[in-house]
């Protein structure tokens, strides 16, 4: 590390020039008194040739060439007779000096070329490593969006910039991902969109220096911070752009514009992948919705067709004069038409109510309600459905809760009907209200036989009917409707069941007892 810093420090051309001057002066000062004019072509020339080649290796071909000329002149001035002049006595010496110059010059050029190539290779390696790091960051992300965010972080970090953001779209540029630093999430300004277009046309990065001052308050960026925009294609329709905020300082030896192009190419692939993933996800959501709709349609179809089949068969039979029907047959057919019509009406009502609840068409008016009053009213309203059952209400007078009266009344009513329908005939049913922390719990409890364990988890699902329940005894929507109503009042509903009995509990926010 230390050596590298030293080499870097002396590598600048200006320093090279100065150092070369000092080296030649020192060398001459040492050698000139020691050697006479007779040593012209041998040792002295080799020493200066060595210095020239060293200079070319360290500072490149330009300073190497300069060293060659300087060395030639020094040798001529200090070591060739007559000394301290630039003239020579013998023609052979002139030829020797010319050969020295040519050798030094060619040597310096060749070393300079090698050095340039080595530098280029090192620069490409550094560039490749930087891009490889980016690919690594992108590939190892869990989600496509995470990959894009990782890409932004990496680009900002490796360019030592303030932040980075990726934009994309078919006919606009909206923010897709950005690095975490503040200001990066800012939308693309009009200037930046124009720059992206220019970048696309010219196929190069566009630098906007300090012109964002006007927008600084809007964008939250440092006023006057430079911005670099580079556009990239995504697919046939969409394109995108990479925005780097702040001054760009690429890693040592790396060409900034080539690195930006590599980043843009990587961003293009990542955005394309993110788009594909998004499309796949959308397709999956649609597929599920479609599946749900088919299941729903099939259930509804069955629930409407069964009573219709019974009604039609009964009506056709009554019309058929060829068969001899007894009075009992006739009354059974008529009774079936009546009861199955009721069943159809109940199903249609439930479906309509479900659809109103789901579409949000129900106005919810939450107000403080007295639990004991509400339970008593429900028991009164459901008297017909619970005939022959002992329905008890167990609720303190000072318990108030927050809910929509109509919705809660119907939800508790449905639970009471359910209890009357599915519990052992003749057994009592209890409606209870109690305080549970910040909530009031309303419970409808029966005395068995309970819900089979495999059904308990599904009772609130649309059209779910228990494995052993008779499919005709309900619409399969009652409990789903109860849950929707309770949720509209910001409450929850749960079920606990054992062979000893089933308890449905509605939990709602408690209200202050009014003065």
């Amino acid at each position: 590390m230390e050596t590298n810093r030293f080499v870097d420090a002396i590598r600048s051309p200006l320093r090279g020039f100065a150092l070369l001057g000092v080296a030649l002066a020192l060398l001459t000062a040492v050698l000139a008194p020691l050697f006479g004019p007779e040593d012209v072509s041998g040792t002295i020339a080799l020493v200066y040739l060595l210095v020239t080649l060293l200079a070319a290796a360290i500072w490149g071909h330009l300073i190497g060439s300069l060293a060659a000329v300087a060395s030639d002149l020094i040798v001529n001035f200090f070591f060739v007779a007559p000394r301290h002049t630039f003239t020579v006595q013998e023609p052979a010496q002139a030829a020797q000096l010319a050969v020295f110059l040519a050798v030094a010059f060619i040597g310096a050029s060749m070393l300079g070329l090698l050095r340039r190539q080595a530098t280029l290779a090192r620069s490409r390696e550094a560039e490749a490593n930087t891009v490889l790091g980016l690919t690594h960051a992108v590939v190892h992300s869990a989600t496509p969006l995470e990959a894009l965010e990782g890409l932004c972080e990496y680009v900002a970090e490796s360019l030592h910039a303030d932040g980075c953001a990726i934009f994309g779209g078919t006919d606009d540029l909206r923010l897709i991902a950005s690095s975490r630093n503040p200001g990066s999430q800012a939308p693309a300004t009009r200037t930046e969109v124009a720059a992206a277009m220019e970048s696309r046309q010219r196929n190069t990065a566009i630098h906007l220096g300090g012109r964002t001052r006007v927008f600084s308050r809007l964008t939250g960026r440092k006023p006057g911070a430079p911005v670099t925009i580079i556009a990239f294609p995504v697919d046939a329709l969409a394109s995108g752009a990479l925005r780097v905020t702040g001054r760009i300082e690429p890693p040592p030896l790396v060409n900034a514009s080539r690195l930006l192009s590599s980043f843009a190419a990587e961003a293009s692939t990542a955005v394309h992948r993110a788009n594909l993933a998004e499309a796949a996800q959308e397709a999956e959501v649609l597929r599920r919705a479609d599946q749900m709709k088919s299941a729903l349609l099939s259930s509804v179809s069955h629930d409407l067709r069964s009573p219709l089949t019974a009604i039609k068969a009964a009506a056709d039979s009554l019309r058929d004069t060829s068969a001899k029907w007894t009075a009992a047959d006739t009354s059974d057919f008529i009774e079936t038409i009546g009861s199955q019509t009721d069943r159809l009406v109940a199903t249609v009502d439930d479906l309509l109510q479900m659809s109103r609840l789901e579409s949000g068409a129900v106005a919810v008016q939450v107000e403080p309600l007295q639990a004991a009053d509400l339970l008593a009213e429900v028991v009164h309203a459901e008297a017909t459905g619970t005939a022959g059952r002992n329905v008890r209400v167990d609720a303190p007078d000072d318990l108030w809760l927050l809910a929509d009266y109509r919705l809660l009344h119907q939800a508790v009513g449905n639970l009471l009907q359910n209890a009357a329908r599915y519990s052992t005939p003749g057994t009592p049913i209890t409606l209870r209200a109690e305080r549970a922390g910040q909530h009031v719990r309303l419970t409808v409890a029966d005395c068995g036989p309970g819900i089979p364990t495999e059904d308990v988890a599904h009772v609130f699902e649309k059209f779910y009917r228990g494995v052993q329940t008779n499919r005709t005894s309900g619409t399969g929507l009652g409990l789903t409707i109860v849950r929707s109503m309770v949720e509209l009042c910001d409450g929850t509903v749960e079920v606990r069941s054992s062979p000893a009995g089933t308890e449905f509990s509605i939990s709602l926010p408690a209200a202050e007892v009014p003065e």
């Binding site: 349609l297 069955h302 069964s306 089949t309 019974a310 039609k312 059974d332 079936t336 005709t472």
Partner: protein
């Protein structure tokens, strides 16, 4: 065939009660069942002539029931299905069901299908001639005539007509016909079948327009040759 035994399988008690009562009113003996799992045992015990089978049962699939009872009985199996059950319907027909009605069905239609199913069972498989209304096919000479007018058919058209005549009244799925007439490798080439049915209708209709109408298309399911009500 009054007094025939009918097994009615449906999970809806109202349908069991009303349809059962209506069939009894026509002089049939009816046994009604709620669960698919009990069908096998009931078939072995009651030896029904016709099975009316709900395609959607809460415990096991109607298709499964068809597969299970087909080796046990030669009874006509008529599916009680709903619109939208097409795939299941075809599958059940391929598993040996003979016919279907769509809920809500009219009692007249159901009774006609039951009668057709019973009549089919009365056909003698060793007959020398296959007949459906005006259509006659002589098994020995391979000659076909409609209302006495000879009709010339290609070998494949002949095979197709013969299959439809042999199983007249029964709904034959496209895959079933293709496998029987053309071979199992052709089961998905429904366009071949459509072309041949079109040609067959044209040739039969050339001799007697009513004969072409006997070849009925069940859209999305297959074809059947309807038996004229006597």
């Amino acid at each position: 065939m009054s007094g025939a035994r009918i097994l009615l399988v449906d999970d809806d008690p109202a349908i069991r009660r009303v349809v059962g009562r209506a069939l009894e009113g026509q002089g049939y003996t009816v046994e009604a069942l709620e669960r698919g799992a009990d069908v096998r045992e009931a078939v072995e015990r009651h030896r029904p002539d016709v099975v009316l089978l709900d395609l959607v049962l809460p415990d096991i699939n109607g298709i499964e029931v068809c597969r299970e009872i087909r080796p046990l009985t030669s009874a006509t199996v008529i599916l009680l299905s709903a619109v939208g059950d097409e795939t299941k319907k075809v599958e059940a027909l391929d598993e040996g069901a003979d016919d279907y009605v769509t809920k809500p069905f009219g009692m007249d239609e159901l009774l006609a299908r039951v009668r057709a199913g019973l009549r089919r069972q009365g056909t003698d498989p060793r007959a020398a001639e296959l007949i459906c209304g005006a259509i006659h096919l002589d098994l020995a000479t391979r000659e076909v005539s409609v209302a006495g007018v000879p009709v010339h058919l290609t070998p494949k058209e002949h095979d197709l007509l013969r299959l439809l005549l042999e199983l007249q009244g029964r709904v034959l799925t496209q895959r079933y016909i293709l496998a029987r007439v053309w071979g199992t490798e052709y089961v998905d080439d429904s366009h071949i079948l459509r072309t041949f049915v079109h040609q067959l209708r044209r040739k039969l209709g050339g001799a007697d327009p009513n004969a072409a109408a006997c070849l009925v298309t069940d859209p999305g399911i297959g074809y059947r040759l309807v038996v004229a009500e006597s």
